[in-house]
Symmetry: C2
Subunit: 352 residues, 2 copies
């Protein structure tokens, strides 16, 4: 049975208008309201799914494929000019020629910044089986940021009770979880963020022992010394640059640095130099980068088995900043880089 | 029995004249020929040994305690102005009030840059039990450089046969050993050094697969790409700075960087910035510093048990650059920083 004319609907999109040096601006994107899509997959297209996007995730890494000069060395493909951005999202299957997914199934994974997307590699999607939590959580605590926080903290950092943990960008999608995991383990946890509101959230909502506004500190190394008079055992690195330099001089013997991201550097073509790497020797520090893909195999078996009960029992709290409507997506994305979001930035495209 | 006047002898010393910014010069040290020492330990001095220094080790780290501004954050104490330098050496016990060592014993460990030294903490000395190898080897292949190379390579780098290994400062005290360990393990090994003579040595004496003169390369990253078209699995870091940046972009997925030293940085008060740390994320690189002290416990049980047979059977070759006489020590030390030495730089103070 082919697609009839009645199956063709408008498909609003967020289009990349031009590549960018520095952080993205709203004017680098445009909303295309004229695009249409057929809600029936053509008969000859085998093994694909058509989804309706419900929630789109705004992530700092997204400025990298938006750049003229792609610094990611092949990890992230550049976006295509004139096409919709892509990113993680939660979606509902509208039509499918892929045997493992059928109409009505909920999924999360890489999708387009548009109302409907045709997913050519549906094997990359995760089927959502638990819907007794907010669906948007699959862009956050139960999605990529959660996986990063969980494996980055428990596996890369190798934490022990009582250790001293520092989290930068601590109220963000990942940081808020790392801090809570560290408290569950019995660590002393300090977070930094860029506003008083976020500092308040860290201490009062997420249970960090201490928190500070890095924008108010003239000397980051001194600030860290104040909160860690005996040094830092574990640093969960989201920021890079000067923050990393300040952390290095405050690390303890045999400290560990899990390198999850370096958002302070994403806008730069020539990165800031990190000067205190000699500390790695003196303090026998292990610094290790990791990427979320490496842990996808353990998503259902290990991650979700632990996180779902934590979320349902309220052991883990998650704060989201949900922008309404696809039109709000460019501003929501851009806001990440000035720290406008409080908690995980999500765009709701449709409720169901 | 007290010391008689006849026990007092001249004790030539290499004295630190002034602290230094940048690499040390010969004029920062002076030879004091007027000092005397009594070769009998005073009766009331318990638990000390008096040694006659035979071989002194010249090591790059020694410029750090010679600096006005000590960058080592407590790992290395600054030298004392007007006193002899200290460093690793091989010595013979002349007198002892320390039960575990007696007159005539040979030891290696931290001693003074002088003919005779009173060692206040003899528990820090290693007793030399095998004298069927050159005694000077206990400043090199059987001493600190050997321990650094052995544990740094086998434990920190976690190598596997067939992996691609890069060693900087490869003809130096540590590098020449790392290269040979890597070949013994069945790795592909490339070293860099600062002269054609050293490059020749790497390929023809130590069995590196390839070697290059880094001073002849305008673009270190390109040079590494030439020797490692498929990237580097293991980097044994002796240099830091620009070399590290060039390595980072050439690392392979899940590569390991053992940070042993960063000699290019020791002369600087403000270190060069390393700009390519984002590679740690994309390539899931582990970078780890280590310090020789941590492995002292395994010196006899593990290290010497492996290395002594290697050395005696000729499986491991060691090249030393031996300067004759304490007077030659300042020039020998200074020469390290311009790469004048070929192989491990040692000063022979006395043959026995």
């Amino acid at each position: 049975m082919g697609a009839g004319e009645g199956d063709v609907v408008k498909n609003k999109q967020v289009i990349l208008k031009n590549f960018k040096n520095g952080y993205p601006k709203e004017s680098d994107m445009l909303i295309n309201s004229e695009n249409t899509i057929c809600l029936k997959i053509a008969q000859e297209s085998k093994g694909v799914v058509l989804v309706k996007n419900l929630y789109l995730s705004c992530d700092p890494y997204m400025c990298i494929p938006m750049k003229e000069f792609n610094i990611s060395q092949g990890l992230l493909s550049s976006y295509t000019l004139g096409s919709p951005l892509t990113g993680y999202g939660v979606a509902k299957v509208v039509d499918s020629t892929y045997p493992n997914l059928k109409k009505g199934d909920l999924v999360w994974g890489t999708t387009g910044w548009e109302e409907y997307s045709l997913i050519a590699n549906p094997a990359s999607l995760f089927k959502i089986e638990h819907t007794d939590v907010p669906l948007s959580y699959y862009t956050g605590v139960l999605g990529v940021p959660g996986i990063c926080a969980y494996f980055g903290f428990y596996e890369v950092c190798n934490p022990k009770p009582g250790e001293r943990v520092y989290v930068s960008a601590a109220s963000g999608a990942i940081g808020q979880l790392v801090g809570q995991f560290a408290k569950l383990m019995g660590c002393y946890v300090v977070g930094s963020a860029g506003s008083e509101e976020k500092v308040h959230l860290l201490k009062n909502k997420f249970g960090f022992d201490e928190a500070f506004n890095y924008k108010e500190e003239n000397d980051l190394a001194k600030a860290l010394e104040r909160y860690f008079p005996d040094g830092i055992d574990i640093y969960f690195e989201n920021v890079g640059g000067k923050m990393l330099d300040a952390v290095l001089v405050n690390m303890r013997l045999r400290g560990r640095i899990a390198v999850c991201g370096m958002v302070s550097q994403y806008n730069l073509n020539q990165h800031e130099g990190v000067k205190n790497l000699m500390c790695l020797i003196e303090k026998r520090i292990r610094m290790e980068g990791f990427v979320v893909y490496d842990y996808y195999d353990e998503y259902y078996s290990k991650f979700l088995q632990t996180l779902l009960p934590y979320v349902k029992e309220g052991k883990i709290t998650y704060v989201e900043d949900i922008a309404q409507g696809l039109e709000s997506a460019p501003a929501a994305l851009v806001g990440l880089f000035s720290g406008r979001n409080v908690g995980k930035q999500v765009v709701m495209v449709a409720r169901d």
